[in-house]
Symmetry: C2
Subunit: 180 residues, 2 copies
Amino acid sequence: MVPAGDNRPRYVCTQCATIHYQNPKMVLGTLPVWEDDGELKVLLCKRAIEPRYGYWTLPAGFMENNETTEAAALRETVEEAGANVELGKLFALMNVQHVHQVHMFYLATLRDLDFAPGEESLDVRMFTESEIPWEELAFPTIRATLELFFADRARMREGDAGYGFHTQDITRPMRGPEAS
Amino acid sequence: MVPAGDNRPRYVCTQCATIHYQNPKMVLGTLPVWEDDGELKVLLCKRAIEPRYGYWTLPAGFMENNETTEAAALRETVEEAGANVELGKLFALMNVQHVHQVHMFYLATLRDLDFAPGEESLDVRMFTESEIPWEELAFPTIRATLELFFADRARMREGDAGYGFHTQDITRPMRGPEAS
């Protein structure tokens, strides 16, 4: 039904009349890097849960009430990768309209390499740019974020100032309807 | 109750066992400007609804499912101010943790001055920096966004490149518990 003064249908409890608004959810994550002797590696997690079981992702998950975007990104990085990171700037904001989500990724620097897969990960590993399993990434926002990151790095090698902030709309799944 | 495999309590329907996750909501808006003969003015709306009835705000409201952050910002600008704007870059992202919200504001340029208050506004007006009713602003995220905007303008007058992207945590209400 459409509540009074509103302009679209809402879920309304038939017993207590509470209106359950359905709004897009935020997915917060990090792009954790480790630089050693000029070589940069990115941390990825192999998913132990559906959707996209067995595919690689940046650590990310749903933001909860009572936390900030930064706190959510940090929490997911600990939960999924057991990683100890220092958070950097917000790097990417991606609209994933068809699944009612907005994905955001913060830059992050690993403080050490003592990471370990959490309950939702089968494996956690470091990848150089050429080692990234591009064909086995879980979601289009992961691919887009990694592409934007390495594009910024390439520009920085040519003298550009630093990492930018990027926004993008993702309008279709990676492959197959199960991958949003 | 805490669902299996989860780590925090959720609202679970006692009849059908549906889990109603409670996640932070996004509030999307714009900072619409009009520049004439070197003089810049910002559009503000006087709220016709609670909370903060009668106080001034940038056009903004809850993002709905099936729209992007840009589309939500544009929709709210039309609904509250009847304004015809061209959207610019995402300018500010503010965590308002204590009310479970994230507020985002896009820069926007008015295409004309044919705006008019919508149902949720008592009035819509243009303000130069010195005319902004700082003591009658509705929410701290509005004040912070306007302050960041004019600070960027001041830096630009001294040769800085352009508007930045800003993130900030808002940890307390403007004044009194009704203003979040």
